[in-house]
C-alpha cells in the first residue's frame, strides 16, 4: 500500500521511509504541504503521514485542505508532531487528522498506528463494496432514484432514537446504528432473482406474479445467510440477512414471507419496514404521485401495531423533522444533478 510522507526534515523523512518500507509500504516523500496536496489530489494515496510544522502549508492546514475536498475515497492522516499535550493533540484531530505520532517515533508504534489506518480504510472499502452491490441490484429498477441513500438514513435515525428507549437501550448501541446504516441498503438484494417480466412490469401484478415477487425476501435472506455462515465473525452479515428476510413482515402477522408476529420479527427488520414504506410513499412512482410528509405520516400512524411496531412508529414521530429534511435534501440533490442537462436543453 502506498504512503505519502510529508516531511521537510530530510533525516526524519529518511528514517520514516526506511521504517515504512521495512514494514511493507511503498513510500513517496513530499517536502512541503503544497507538494503533498498535489500528490493527494492524484488519488494515489490513501495514507498520509505528515509533519506538523513545515514551511508554507503546515500539516494542520494540509489536513484541513484534504478534508475540505471531495475525494473518491477517505484519506487517513497521521500527524507527526514534536508538540505534546492534550491541547495540541485535540487541535490536530480537530483539523481532520485521524491519529498522531510524537517525535521521535518508535518503529513499533508507527507500525501499530499504520495498521489501524489500513484497517479503517479496509472498512471503508467494505462499506463501499456493500453499497455498490446494493446499487447494482437496484439498478434494474431505474425508478427508485436514491431510495437506498434515503432508506439507510431513515434506518439510522430510527435506530438512534430507539437507542435511548428503555426497552432497547441494551440492544441498540452505536454498533447497531452503524450496522443498520451499512446493511439496510441490501434489503432488496433478492430482487436480482426476480424475472424482468415481473420486476419491471408497468401494470398491476397478478396474484401469481406477486407470489413470485414476494420471493425476493427469501432469495435475499438465503443468499446473505450462506455468506454469514462462512463468516460467523461478521455480525453485520447476520443483520443484513435479517433485514432482507423480514422487511416485509408486519407485526400483526399479515406480512411475508413467514407471517411473523411482533417481536418474532428482528428489530432491524421492523425498523427497515417503516423506513422502506415511508420512502416508497414519499417518492413518485409511475403508478402514483409522491405523498407529502403529512399524508405518509397519517398512513404510518394508522398502521401502528398492524404493519408497524408501535415503538418504531413513536421513534419516527419523535424524529419526523429529520425524515422530512432527508426526503427534501435528496430531492434537492437530484434536481441539482439534472440541472446542467436542463440548462443545456434550454440553449
Amino acid at each position: 500500500m502506498r504512503v505519502l510522507v510529508v516531511e521537510d526534515d530530510w533525516i526524519t523523512a529518511q528514517v520514516l521511509t526506511n521504517a515504512l518500507e521495512r514494514i511493507g509500504y511503498e513510500v513517496t516523500v513530499a517536502e512541503d504541504g503544497d507538494a503533498a496536496y498535489r500528490h493527494v489530489r492524484s488519488g494515489k494515496y490513501r495514507l498520509v503521514v505528515t509533519d506538523w510544522e513545515m514551511p508554507g502549508m503546515s500539516g494542520i492546514e494540509l489536513c484541513r485542505r484534504i478534508r475540505s475536498r471531495r475525494s473518491a475515497g477517505y484519506v487517513y492522516i497521521i500527524l507527526l508532531t514534536s508538540y505534546r499535550g492534550v491541547e495540541n493533540i485535540v487541535r490536530g484531530l480537530d483539523a481532520g487528522a485521524d491519529d498522531y505520532l510524537t517525535k521521535p517515533f518508535q518503529p513499533e508504534e508507527l507500525a501499530m498506528r499504520m495498521r489501524v489506518g489500513v484497517r479503517i480504510l479496509s472498512l471503508e472499502s467494505r462499506d463501499l463494496t456493500i453499497f455498490a452491490l446494493a446499487k447494482l441490484a437496484e439498478s434494474r429498477d431505474s425508478e427508485t432514484g436514491e431510495h437506498l441513500e434515503r432508506m439507510r438514513e431513515y434506518c439510522r435515525i430510527l435506530a438512534d432514537e430507539l437507542s435511548i428507549h428503555p426497552r432497547y437501550r441494551d440492544i441498540v448501541d452505536g454498533e447497531f446504528v452503524s450496522q443498520i446504516y451499512l446493511t439496510s441498503p441490501l434489503h432488496d438484494i433478492g430482487k436480482v432473482g426476480i424475472p424482468d417480466s415481473i420486476l419491471l412490469k408497468p401494470g398491476k401484478l397478478t396474484d401469481e406474479e406477486f407470489g413470485v415477487m414476494k420471493e425476493h425476501a427469501v432469495i435475499g435472506g438465503r443468499t446473505l445467510e450462506s455468506v454469514a455462515q462462512h463468516h460467523p465473525e461478521a455480525s453485520y452479515l447476520q443483520m443484513a440477512r435479517d433485514i432482507a428476510l423480514t422487511h416485509h413482515e408486519r407485526v400483526d402477522g399479515s406480512g411475508y414471507p413467514y407471517g411473523l408476529y411482533g417481536d418474532e420479527i428482528p428489530l432491524c427488520g421492523r425498523i427497515a419496514a417503516l423506513a422502506d414504506v415511508y420512502d416508497a410513499l414519499t417518492s413518485k412512482r409511475v403508478y402514483k404521485a409522491a405523498y407529502d410528509h403529512n399524508m405518509a405520516k397519517e398512513l404510518i400512524i394508522s398502521e401502528r401495531d398492524k404493519h408497524f411496531d408501535g415503538d418504531v412508529v413513536d421513534a419516527f414521530l419523535s424524529r419526523e423533522e429529520e425524515f422530512l429534511a432527508i426526503s427534501n435534501r435528496f430531492q434537492g440533490e437530484a434536481l441539482d444533478a439534472i440541472m446542467p442537462e436542463a440548462q443545456l436543453a434550454n440553449v
Partner: protein
C-alpha cells in the same frame, strides 16, 4: 562510507544522552546504512545551523532562531541526540517569547551551543575509532 556505528549492543563509548547509537539503530530498524547516512547529514546540518543560529542570535533575529531551534529539536530527537534535542527545545521556547527574557535567551543559546559542540566531538571520536 565510514562505519562508525555498530549493531553490537555492548557498552557505548559515548554518553547515550549525547548520542544513543543503539537507539538510532533501533529507530532505523537495524539498517546501518540509513543510520550512518542520517548521522552524517545531521552533523553537517548541525555545523551549518550552529553558525547560522549564532549569527541570528547576535542580531536578535529571534524568529529565525526559533525556526532553526525547532528544526534541530526534531532532527536531534530522530538521531537520538536527546540532550541536544532538549536544549533546542529550551532555546526554541526562549526565542518564541521574542527573547524578552534576555538572560534566559542567552543562557538557552549558550547551552545549545555547548551541547552541539559536545555532540560534534562525540561523533568525531566515533570517526577516530572506526
Amino acid at each position: 562510507m565510514v562505519n562508525r556505528l555498530s549493531d553490537d549492543m555492548g557498552p557505548s563509548l559515548i554518553d547515550p544522552q549525547i548520542f544513543d547509537q543503539q537507539q538510532l539503530l533501533l529507530r532505523c530498524m537495524g539498517n546501518l546504512e540509513v543510520a550512518e547516512r542520517c548521522l552524517t547529514r545531521f552533523r553537517q546540518r548541525l555545523e551549518a545551523d550552529v553558525e547560522q543560529l549564532q549569527q541570528s542570535a547576535t542580531v536578535g533575529d529571534t524568529g529565525e532562531v526559533a525556526r532553526l531551534a525547532h528544526f534541530m529539536k526534531g532532527s536531534a530527537a530522530t538521531v537520538a541526540a536527546t540532550a541536544l534535542s532538549q536544549k533546542a527545545h529550551s532555546l526554541e521556547c526562549a526565542a518564541r517569547d521574542g527573547g524578552t527574557e534576555e538572560i534566559e535567551f542567552d543562557r538557552a543559546t549558550r547551552e545549545f551551543m555547548n551541547e552541539a559542540e559536545r555532540f560534534i566531538e562525540a561523533v568525531a571520536r566515533l570517526d577516530e575509532n572506526s
